[in-house]
């Protein structure tokens, strides 16, 4: 090829360079200290590489030096937006190893707390997602209502974020006076507020432009990456451990598994993942209402074991946290300290899909897609 040829064949094509851009760890919308190293060609992102570990606190190693009960406050700090769910699943795992039966009242209170926590966590997810696409006010609306949930928790156990409430074989406190009444009042107050979010954000034309059809995650890809929770259900896969493998007493309640519909675009887009969270709040309200109505009397402390020493062996116990399948793999060598605790964090798997569905979009969309995955770094880095 002569020089002229190569020149003419390149006519109209301007050579451009790729830019390497660090998004995070100190960035307004990486939801914590995540670092995304992105390669961009213009504003179009060609590759995304999540760098983790900025919030690594050796959770799993810590567990090997703490007695079983002392691990619970550490599980709080993994997914700090859904501490109750972490407490719950860890406690259930250890109880199952020990073959411990807990009173019905404890089970019910746990479900009430975990489902309220799911509401609080989804409010955070929904609000920050609105923030990611530029809507600031919906975020404060969500926080206004999340505060009410945290008030209920504070009323029950004194803590607003890290509860250490659900213990192995019981609870740290019984329900306080009038809790049922306050909780019902909250639910009555909160249910119409979901319509308010829909009015201000969900059906906003600009919001739909930004999220509909964007970041489509097909069901097979979601499954092969191990996505769970609203991310998986947003792609239309009916997989909810509360339904599919009912643990605790979830089989006693009426509720539906919410699936993405592709209503505002394609099945599995950011809007679907967002809307699954909105509707799951309604389902949680249903569960809490039923649990409050059926709440039996009893002593919540009677099953608390004197010594927690599970027999030699191991267990993998999983449950549905607000972010998806949260599992604890616990190995016991018969001592009062676990030999090994491995945590399967849902947000970690959900985040791993970011390059698959995010590459090719623009920088603005990366922020949207990341927001729709609703990650919590405390749980990813552990």
């Amino acid at each position: 090829m002569t020089a002229t040829d190569s020149k003419s064949s390149n006519f109209g094509v301007v050579e451009t360079e790729e830019m390497v851009l660090n998004m995070g760890p100190q960035h307004p919308s990486t939801h914590g200290v995540l670092r995304l190293k992105i390669r961009t060609d213009g504003e179009i992102v060609t590759h995304i590489e999540p760098h983790l570990g900025y919030l690594h606190r050796c959770f799993e190693k810590h567990c090997e030096n703490l007695s079983y009960e002392q691990v619970i406050p550490f599980t709080d700090r993994c997914d700090y937006l859904a501490s109750m769910a972490n407490n719950h699943i860890y406690a259930l795992g250890v109880e199952q190893m020990m073959g411990l039966e807990v009173p019905d009242r404890v089970e019910y209170i746990r479900i009430i707390m975990v489902e309220l926590q799911r509401i609080a966590s989804h409010l955070m997810g929904v609000g920050t997602f609105g923030l990611d696409v530029g809507g600031i006010t919906p975020f404060t609306y969500c926080f206004r209502d999340r505060e009410r949930v945290l008030d209920l928790f504070e009323y029950t156990c004194g803590a607003r974020l890290l509860y250490n409430y659900i213990w192995i074989g019981g609870l740290s406190h019984d329900l306080p006076e009038n809790f049922v009444q306050y909780a019902n009042e909250f639910l009555d107050y909160f249910e119409p507020k979901i319509d308010e979010y829909n009015r201000i954000l969900t059906y906003n034309k600009i919001f739909i432009e930004r999220t509909g059809d964007v970041g489509v995650l097909p069901a097979d890809v979601a499954i092969s990456y191990g996505c769970t929770g609203p991310v998986l259900r947003g792609s239309g896969v009916s997989w909810d451990l509360r339904k599919n493998e009912p643990y605790s007493i979830y089989d006693r309640f009426e509720f539906d598994t919410v699936l993405g519909t592709g209503e505002m675009g394609t099945l599995g887009d950011c809007w679907d993942r967002y809307f699954v969270r909105i509707q799951e709040m309604r389902e949680s309200i249903k569960i809490v209402r039923q649990a409050l109505a059926q709440l039996p009397e009893g002593d919540v402390f009677e099953a608390l074991p004197k010594k927690v020493r599970p027999p030699e062996g191991s267990i993998y116990f999983r449950g549905e946290s607000p972010r998806g399948e949260l599992g604890y793999f616990i190995v016991s060598d018969g001592k009062n300290v676990p030999y090994r605790v491995k945590m399967r964090s849902p947000a970690f798997c959900n985040l791993s899909v970011i390059n698959e569905i995010g590459a090719g979009w623009m920088i603005s969309d990366i922020v949207t897609i990341l927001g729709s995955l609703d990650i919590v770094l405390g749980e990813i880095d552990r």
Binding site: M19, L21, H27, P28, S29, E43, G130, L131, D132, V133, G134, G135, I136, T137, T140, Y141, R144, I200, L201, N204, I206, F207, E209, R210, M362, I363, S364, D365, V367
Partner: protein, 342 residues
């Protein structure tokens, strides 16, 4: 020019400049208080009565903050950019009439600093100069996020500017002049332009939101995406200059909107000119109320809507607003010649 004219002109310059600065300061407070009101918060309410002195406290803080110029920045351009943004933003208010002419003795003093025969073009030109400042700030910082913000500023400019210019053409055709005096006098005679040019008014309203980089078009700053966009690397007073010129631009754009489509200082069904001093006072009040409404609209919209992606803004500009604006020009022309013929 007599001595009286020069004195009157000087007083008007100082008055308009001072009031513009004051309004900018009030707007920074109003934005925070109104947004707080919309978000179940309180907002700044401690400095002075109801937080009225908060802007002064902020200004003092900006003044006392260390000025940081990154080593990687292109120094001259980095320093020049905020000035390029700030100066035109403050200069545009000069051509906006803010009240009916005032009779002092035998002199009729128009309440307008300069009635240029190209008043409309003057504002269009100066507001476009401001965009250069954003692009230069983005490029001159020598950092990646500002670079992206600066490029978005240019992308934004080429999206809305055509529609904005074309939407004004309709008004100019009706009036047959480019001075604000003529435009307002025309609206006094025949009613506000919003009734005759509703489509143009709508296009113009959308365009000024893009022009002033406000949500839903604040792509150049886009905190959640580009951290701070073009002003990421700016600190202390230089940041304050970008911040204040945004509000200055909002005030100009609102006043521009009011003058073009909402009769400027005109109050319908009232002859301000015949009422003497009270008429002038009424007209100034009318102007302030109208501009205040659009300033409030800015805040209201900002705290309600999410943000567009910038290719979506471009699509909106080129595929919706531009054809509509062209249609508006042709329709206005057809209506005018048809009426003249009939």
């Amino acid at each position: 020019m007599s001595g009286f004219d020069i004195a009157a002109a000087l007083v008007k310059v100082l008055l308009v400049f001072g009031v513009t600065m004051l309004t900018i300061m009030l707007m920074t407070l109003a934005e925070r208080r109104v947004s707080a009101f919309m978000q179940y918060r309180l907002g700044p309410n401690r400095v002075g009565f109801g937080g009225l002195l908060q802007p002064l406290a902020d200004g003092l803080k900006f003044l006392l903050k260390e000025d940081i110029i990154p080593t990687q920045a292109n120094r001259p351009i980095y320093l020049l950019a905020p000035v390029i943004v700030m100066v035109p933003a403050l200069m545009t208010m000069a051509v906006i009439p803010f009240g009916a002419p005032l009779q002092i003795g035998e002199h009729l003093v128009p309440l307008q600093v300069a009635d240029l025969n190209i008043g409309v073009l003057y504002i269009l030109a100066l507001t476009s100069v401001g965009v250069y400042g954003l692009v230069l700030a983005g490029w001159g910082s020598g950092s990646k996020y500002p670079l992206l913000g600066g490029l978005r500023a240019s992308a934004q400019l080429i999206s809305y500017e055509l529609a904005m210019g074309l939407s004004i053409i309709g008004v100019v055709m009706l009036t047959g002049g480019l001075t604000f005096g003529e435009i307002i006098a025309y609206q006094q005679e025949t009613g506000w332009n919003i009734w005759k040019q509703p489509l143009a008014a709508l296009i113009f309203l959308i365009a000024i939101f893009a022009e002033t980089n406000r949500l839903p078009f604040d792509l150049t700053e886009a905190e959640q995406e580009l951290v701070g966009g073009y002003h990421t690397e700016y600190s202390s007073l230089k940041f304050a200059m970008f911040y204040l010129s945004e509000y200055a631009n909002m005030i100009t754009a609102s006043a521009f909107m009011v003058s073009l489509f909402f009769g400027g200082w005109d109050v319908p069904f009232v002859d301000e000119l015949a009422m003497g001093g009270w008429g002038v006072a009424l007209s100034v009040l009318a102007f302030v109320v109208k501009v205040g409404f659009f300033l409030f609209l800015y805040i209201w919209v900002r705290w309600t809507f999410p943000r567009f992606r910038y290719d979506q803004l471009m699509r909106l500009g080129w595929k919706v607003l531009l054809p509509l604006a062209l249609v508006n020009v042709v329709l206005t022309g057809f209506w005018l010649v048809w009426r003249a013929g009939a």
